[in-house]
Point group: C2
DNA sequence: TTATTATTGTAACATATTGTTACAATAATA
DNA sequence: TATTATTGTAACAATATGTTACAATAATAA
């Protein structure tokens, strides 16, 4: 979980510290300004944009690797993470964009370089508090930033379809697991929460039914404080109750 | 998808045709005699029992590999398969049982043999028509048979917990996807179907509600024929309608 | 101070879904 | 032809969800 200078090993010629042929790609969702956001890496010289990802150390638990990768990019710990699919089609990874990046980074490589071989990639999605994230570039890509989900550029390899599948999984999980709160700040109004749900599900919800449902879950704690606001009744603030 | 004599390569010393460090484990569910069954491999000499599994050819799609592996063990094609989790803890695979199997099979190996290294395993579950399956052993394990889910022995590595996780996933999918039919024969009564649901979910269901729900799905086709039976009203036979 | 305005919290009712009881319709057997 | 066991489904009850309505604010403007 080093947030310091990345070690040489991570891009070295041998890469002997990592398992080969296996990668993790992370779809890190945030929510801000009525928009779902995804954290993406960009190599400015070539313009290649990709999902944050990484590899699994030879003695590292898979889920630990996913945590480490997401922590390194966001500066956060204890992140909500969910494995959602394994992308393993042969030929899914066109090596050319990575080749360009390596060249531009002055990393020696031939066509047998392990980063240019076939990878099977395990997809994780993460839900984070947008306001707490400090995006950090990695060894290979030199910028790391939020993109509106509705405005994702053409990404490296099959990363566009990975995002789509992550979104489908997030929607399916929304009703079963109680995970939307991971995208909110600590305290929020039911109105905020409704906008989040509407954005994720891409459909309008009726306020009374939504509030009734959320409150009946018994996982929201009403905070005594109220909102400072505008010319109308102030909404209550809630927080996710850890008492369950 | 060769159902013939397994090729030397599959267990050879080099295994160069397969991706290393990655495996597929398949939880193949069947249903018979009011019981959920799982297909398991056994090496009779050492008594090791394990899930059917296999590896991914270097140019093979991941999902194709899963299909191939399940087809090889069951003799079936067009099998319902679902990726459900990736098992990647370091140390999840105690190499000793596999070592014993290799030794007993007279396969030359030292501790660096690729089959004794760390594997990350992609879990698939399969739903098959029990009556259509012809279980086939593989290169390493010399028998392949059904076990009652309620009576699974101690399995190799973490395979017991893989089965548990598969069952949890199956239960979760049961309401969302319409997959239970894959465990039935072509024609079945609503009573049969209810017993299947009750067995999977491990709880009693009320008949009128269950029938109403199943019929309202609009995916069941009532077959004109009726059941030959006992001293009471004969139930209708249904089949899953492909017209949707 | 007192309307005005916009938005919140929630009651009240309507509709839909699911749970439960009841019973007529069989298909053999006695 | 009665008996028995089980099926198909109607009928009602209990919940859950969708919708309308409205009182309760929190600022602003008169």
């Amino acid at each position: 979980m080093s947030k310091d200078k990345p070690v040489e090993n991570e891009t070295g010629k041998t890469g002997t510290d990592f398992m080969h042929g296996l990668a993790i790609d992370a779809v890190i969702f945030g929510f801000h300004d009525h928009q779902l956001k995804v954290l993406l890496m960009r190599y400015n010289r070539t313009g290649v944009v990709a999902l944050p990802g990484g590899f699994i150390h030879k003695t590292e638990h898979l889920n630990d690797a996913a945590n480490r990768i997401v922590s390194e990019r966001t500066g956060l710990n204890d992140i909500y993470l969910e494995q959602f699919y394994v992308f393993g089609d042969y030929g899914r990874s066109d090596p050319q964009p990575m080749k360009d990046v390596l060249t531009a980074n002055n990393i020696k490589h031939d066509d047998n370089h392990w980063l240019l071989q076939r990878f099977i990639s395990i997809g994780y999605y993460a839900l984070v508090d947008f306001t707490k994230v400090v995006p950090r570039p990695d060894t290979i890509f030199d910028s790391c930033d939020w993109y509106d989900l509705t405005n994702i550029p053409r990404l490296m390899q099959d990363h566009n379809s990975i995002i789509q599948k992550a979104l489908v999984s997030l929607r399916a999980d929304l009703d079963n697991k109680l995970i939307a709160f991971n995208l909110m700040q600590e305290e929020f109004t039911l109105g905020d929460l409704q906008i989040l749900y509407e954005t994720i599900l891409d459909k309008k919800l009726l306020r009374p039914a939504f509030q009734r449902k959320m409150l009946s879950l018994g996982i929201l704690e009403r905070v005594a404080k109220k909102w400072t606001g505008a010319a109308h009744k102030a909404p209550y603030l809630y927080r996710f109750s850890k008492n369950l």
